[in-house]
């Protein structure tokens, strides 16, 4: 991956498999202290948008590999003083970090920067576009429980239109021959979604989405975008919230995933979130293993 990791769309299967295999190698060793693969390397985590888990996860992944990691958040930085994105990145680039991990509220912000900067950029979520490491950790989590992604039926439910997690997962699952069902109210589920990658169908009925599903991915209700949905919180939960009563429709060994942070009682009931089916905390664990694999791959190429 020369030049970093901007999205899943442009990755091929071989590359994805290599990362997922390497992440498996890192899984049990997480607790075993620091490795030295990236000793002496410098990684800057630049978060223009609030994030707890992704930022911490990248920081820990870097440190477990022996790299030095510095985290910068937009508030209190030069961004607050009106510096442009290009100038901020140029300034940081001039300090010669080995990679920049970046989260930004604007779709395409890392892609735009990658065209102007020599430093490899790892996209930690750009607007409503992609969140590649999330899809990789989701795939790792599924593969910890299934032998292959091929033929799996994955339901992605919620505000798909505004979800970078949904897009990255769609690209990844589609590349490996999974069947993807997207579900949400029409205002959050543009019909064009079914055309951006093969194997995708759409439904507005959560029961139809869950029927025979192997994987159920719930998305956070983005409260700031609720006016787009024309749904009140209670109306939303009533029609698109995942509850225990739905689980009987899915495959008996179906798993429930969520990129977090979860809103209990909004898109997922507490009973489901805390049930045996939920792998939400495994996702968090795998986040570190996958990010270690990504950092290692980009920095030691």
């Amino acid at each position: 991956m020369p030049g970093g990791l901007l999205g899943i769309e442009s990755l091929d299967r071989v590359e994805i498999e290599a990362i997922l295999d390497r992440a498996k190698y890192f899984q049990p060793q997480q607790a075993e202290g620091r490795k030295q693969m990236l000793r002496g390397r410098m990684i800057v985590n630049l978060f223009f948008e609030a994030s707890t888990r992704t930022r911490t996860s990248f920081e820990i992944a870097a440190k477990r590999l022996g790299a030095d990691a510095i985290s910068i958040t937009a508030s209190g930085s030069s961004v607050d003083k009106g510096e442009s994105l290009v100038d901020t990145l140029n300034t940081l680039g001039a300090m010669h970090p080995d990679a920049i991990v970046m989260r930004h509220a604007a779709s395409g912000a890392p892609h735009f920067l990658a065209r102007h900067l020599p430093t490899p950029i790892i996209n930690a979520g750009d607007g409503t576009h992609e969140h590649p490491t999330q899809a990789l950790l989701d795939a790792r989590t599924i593969l910890d429980r299934r032998s292959s992604l091929e033929g799996l039926r994955a339901a992605i439910i919620g505000d798909i239109a505004h979800s970078r997690v949904a897009r990255s997962n769609m690209y990844l699952l589609s590349k490996f021959g999974a069947e993807i069902v997207l579900c949400g109210p029409a205002s959050l589920l543009p019909v064009e979604l079914s055309k951006i990658t093969p194997g995708v169908t759409l439904t507005h009925d959560i029961r139809e989405a869950i029927r025979d599903a192997d994987v159920i991915m719930m998305l956070r209700v983005q409260l700031e975008r609720q006016h787009e949905a024309a749904f009140s919180a209670s109306e939303y939960f009533r029609f698109y919230g995942l509850r225990l009563e739905h689980m009987g429709l899915a495959k008996p060994d179906a798993i429930v995933m969520h990129p977090g942070p979860i809103n209990r009682g909004r898109e997922i009931s507490s009973e489901v979130a805390d049930s045996q089916r939920s792998v939400i905390l495994n996702q968090v664990e795998n986040g570190i293993a996958v990010r270690m694999a990504v950092l290692e791959r980009i920095l030691t190429n």
Partner: protein
């Protein structure tokens, strides 16, 4: 002062002439178009192998003066126009202050008289400050020199205000040009709503936001009898509606920009803001409809919507970048590439789209090579190979998606009132 343009293939749609001729110019006016004219004692321009056409008119340009001189000025914009083969340009009123009164109109005309190397015809605002509420002073602006009214970029949302604008414009014999966009439907959008916007996670500007306004304005044009012109038409249904209006005999016209007939939304390299404009680059199907309109006659003119923005404004997150691209210098090259070399239209039709087409929309006494007419002449080639280098642009801005594009044919010399104001090195 006499100038003879020798041996060019003269294409003058107004007189249906397409033949090798000489064009003699005297005192800034066309003296005679004929064969083997005596050029003794006159300055000569050898146009052998070149096309000699009436001066091209770009009816949709942003000159940014007054107010945004860092992006463009009347002078720099006029130089870019000349380098693009245009002898006349019409500048939109979204300056600062807005051209919504005779004082600003006169200011622009005075700046043009002093600094512009091509003819500049201002377009006045429809409403005061283009705020969409109170009508601007059409009459006094017309006396000061405007040729049309438009709230380009800030379309009049209130249909009643638009109706009054059309009635008033009709009384003064000027057309109403509308940038057709329902701002509620397009709110927050960054590119055409479709597969590409969904794929890229960018907010969409639906074609319907253009179509509903084209429909509204056609209906109002019928009610008021006003001449209504659709700026930068880009969507399939809008082209169909303009065709329909023409079939009904309404005085409805439209223009298309080169970028809307050569690029679609899927041509944008990832998040390149030089591909961000309004209306946005639409689907391949819409591009096809605009091309069809250029062939069928539904589209009356090619206009560039030359919209300069400094690099600092375009070097940002895509959603923060302003809309618009420059286009004066690439228009002829693109028209040849996409329309003529492909055999879609004849050279004569292309010349018409740049001359008699816009002249008719605006009622301008330009765009023809008859004796006594102002000697505005565009000389271009259909063959020479060249590559557009935006860094050598005469414009003050660099926001073009066509940087590095290779063209076959383009402007060679531009003559304004009998004077060669630009020629290719």
């Amino acid at each position: 002062m006499r100038l003879v343009v020798k041996n060019g293939r003269v294409i003058d749609p107004a007189s249906r002439l397409d033949a090798v001729r000489d064009v003699a110019i005297e005192d800034g006016k066309i003296a005679v178009v004929g064969e083997n004219l005596d050029a003794a004692g006159a300055e000569q321009f050898d146009a052998t192998g070149l096309i000699v056409a009436p001066g091209f008119i770009d009816m949709h340009v942003h000159l940014r003066e007054p107010g945004f001189e860092y992006a463009e000025t009347v002078e720099s914009g006029s130089r870019a126009a000349a380098a693009g083969g245009f002898t006349s340009i019409c500048c939109m009123p979204n300056t600062s202050p807005v051209n919504d009164n005779a004082t600003v109109t006169s200011y622009i005309i005075e700046r043009a008289a002093r600094h512009a190397i091509v003819n500049v015809f201002p377009i006045g605002a429809i409403t005061k400050n283009s705020a969409g509420e109170e009508l601007a002073a059409f009459g006094s602006m017309k006396q000061a020199g405007i040729v049309a009214v438009s709230d380009d970029g800030r379309p009049v949302m209130n249909a009643r205000v638009m109706r009054r604008a059309m009635e008033t414009a009709r009384s003064f014999g000027i057309p109403v040009i509308d940038h057709c966009e329902d701002l509620h439907l397009s709110a927050g959008g960054d590119m055409h709503e479709g597969i590409e916007s969904v794929r890229l996670g960018l907010r969409g500007i639906p074609a319907a936001s253009e179509d509903v306004m084209v429909a509204r304005d056609i209906l109002l044009a019928e009610v008021t009898g006003a001449r209504f012109h659709v700026a930068h038409i880009s969507s399939r249904y809008s082209v169909e509606m303009v065709s329909f209006a023409k079939l009904r005999g309404l005085p409805v016209t439209c223009e298309a920009t080169p970028h809307h007939f050569v690029l679609s939304d899927s041509d944008m390299p990832s998040y390149d803001s030089n591909y961000k404009m309004k209306p946005p680059l639409r689907s391949a199907c819409d591009v096809g409809a605009v091309l069809q309109g250029l062939i069928s006659g539904a589209v009356d003119a090619i206009a560039t919507d030359h919209a300069p923005h400094p690099g600092s404004e375009k070097m940002q997150e895509f959603e923060k970048c302003p809309f618009g691209i420059i286009g004066l210098e690439t228009a002829i090259g693109i028209a040849l590439e996409q329309l003529v070399h492909t055999g879609k239209i004849t050279l004569a039709r292309m010349v018409e789209l740049f001359t008699t087409g816009p002249a008719r929309v605006l009622n301008l006494d330009r765009g023809r090579l008859t004796a006594g007419a102002p000697a505005d002449i565009t000389i271009f080639s259909t063959e020479h190979r060249w590559t557009y280098d935006v860094n050598k642009s005469a414009s003050k801005s660099r926001n073009s998606p066509f940087h590095g594009r290779e063209f076959r044919g383009g402007p060679v010399a531009t003559i304004v009132t009998g004077r060669v104001v630009w020629s290719r090195e």
